[in-house]
């Protein structure tokens, strides 16, 4: 990352090779459209290049930072598309098959530890996290969808994430 931040193009090419499948795969899960995913991945990785000097190793891993940028770009895009579609239809109904996405993601979680840790969560914790992360929903949307109170969803999301973190043993430094 330091070499990338210093403007080293070949270091960025190496970084691309290491991270692009994970960024593209994540973005594709969220956008559910290969062409859109390609476009968003391009934007996200150019953003990584542009802002590489802001990466701070004391605040997490480079992979985490990059995927966070990828995730943010993807959910922003999905929300913008959704808002445009809603304006067009004037129905306001959400008709995207999030459940399919979540089912697919969990089915593909080959990593035993990840699958075991997700299973260890309560169902509301797990659904809140997966709907927000892969569905691109805000916690308000999640609350509506799950028929739960706003503060409940917010705290369950956080509690679930902390449990997931502890289960996977992710710590800084």
């Amino acid at each position: 990352m330091k070499r990338v931040a210093a403007g080293d193009q070949s270091a960025f090419a190496t970084l691309y090779d290491a991270i692009a499948p994970r960024a593209y795969g994540l973005i594709r899960r969220i956008t559910r459209d290969p062409a859109l995913a390609e476009e968003v991945t391009q934007d996200a990785l150019v953003e990584v290049w542009r802002t590489a000097s802001r990466f701070d190793a004391e605040r997490g891993s480079a992979v985490g930072w990059i995927l966070s940028i990828a995730h943010h770009r993807a959910v922003d895009r999905v929300r913008a598309e959704q808002a445009a579609a809603d304006r067009e239809r004037r129905t306001g109904t959400v008709s995207v098959p999030f459940d399919e996405v979540i089912a697919e993601v969990t089915a593909r979680l080959e990593h035993q530890a990840v699958r075991r840790c997700l299973r260890a969560l309560t169902s509301i914790q797990r659904e809140a996290i997966l709907l927000a992360y892969y569905g691109g929903l805000t916690y308000r949307d999640v609350a509506e969808r799950l028929g739960a109170a706003l503060p409940t969803v917010k705290t369950r999301m956080r509690d679930g994430l902390i449990r997931l973190r502890d289960c996977l043993g992710v710590t800084l430094g």
Partner: protein, 241 residues
């Protein structure tokens, strides 16, 4: 009552709207444990990404590399540094910079001042150190730091209210015995001399006066004694805005 800490999870998942996001980011700046929690959640979710990894179309690589080659990179921003440095660390940084000044009076005296007597020089250095301390302590002090081309770091603390800045140059590559680094205050593309380091010197702390209307402080490598206008490309450019 809404406990703002509880937003950490939703924030890390980008699951809050813009006003809440802005509010939580202000809180993050003052809450190291929240920042750590967000970072750990971010890394946790990244651990899930192996499961969804998928090879992108081959053309994406060329597209990303071509666009990045044409995209200038940002310097580390002030707001980012403010977030990173809580008040205590900020003060420690200012104190550290002041200590550098105190220890490295030679750096400050690095101007070419052949005619000055030692006494005059000492008095001037002492006055400059006071001014430097004032800039570092100014309530509107802003910090910008960039890596210089070829290595080393240039950090500038500027105060608009004092119309002054302090530039700390560290570990620059040796300019060679017959060359020196020179500072420039750049306003609308026009550089003005802001001091020359001693020949061969790779670091110094310099007080730069008269920054109103300027956008940049630039550093070039010049023949010893400095030049009237830059003769070499900038090795570092630090934003003042």
């Amino acid at each position: 009552m809404t406990d703002i800490h509880t937003f950490a999870g939703a924030y890390a998942l980008h699951a809050i709207d813009r006003p809440e996001r802005a509010r939580f980011e202000r809180h993050l700046a003052e809450c190291p444990s929240c920042a750590a929690e967000v970072a750990e959640i971010t890394d946790t979710m990244a651990a899930l990404s192996d499961a969804t990894a998928e090879a992108p179309p081959a053309r994406l690589r060329a597209a990303v590399l071509a666009r990045s080659a044409a995209t200038p990179q940002v310097e580390r921003s002030v707001s980012r540094l403010r977030i990173r440095l809580p008040a205590v660390r900020w003060q420690r940084l200012a104190a550290a910079a002041a200590a550098v000044v105190a220890l490295g009076g030679a750096g400050v005296a690095g101007y070419e001042t052949a005619n000055d007597s030692a006494l005059v020089d000492d008095t001037r250095v002492s006055a400059e150190n006071k001014q430097i301390a004032a800039v570092l302590a100014a309530p509107d002090a802003r910090l910008h730091s960039v890596r210089a081309a070829g290595g080393g770091q240039v950090t500038v603390v500027s105060s608009h209210s004092l119309n002054e800045a302090v530039a700390v140059l560290g570990k620059l590559p040796s300019p060679g015995a017959k060359h020196a680094y020179q500072l420039w205050v750049i306003s609308d593309g026009t550089p003005r001399n802001a001091g020359v380091l001693a020949a061969g010197s790779t670091g110094a702390t310099e007080l730069v006066s008269g920054i109103h209307g300027a956008q940049l402080i630039g550093i070039t490598r010049e023949p010893a004694g400095g030049s009237r206008t830059p003769t070499q490309p900038l090795v570092a450019r630090v934003s003042l805005t």
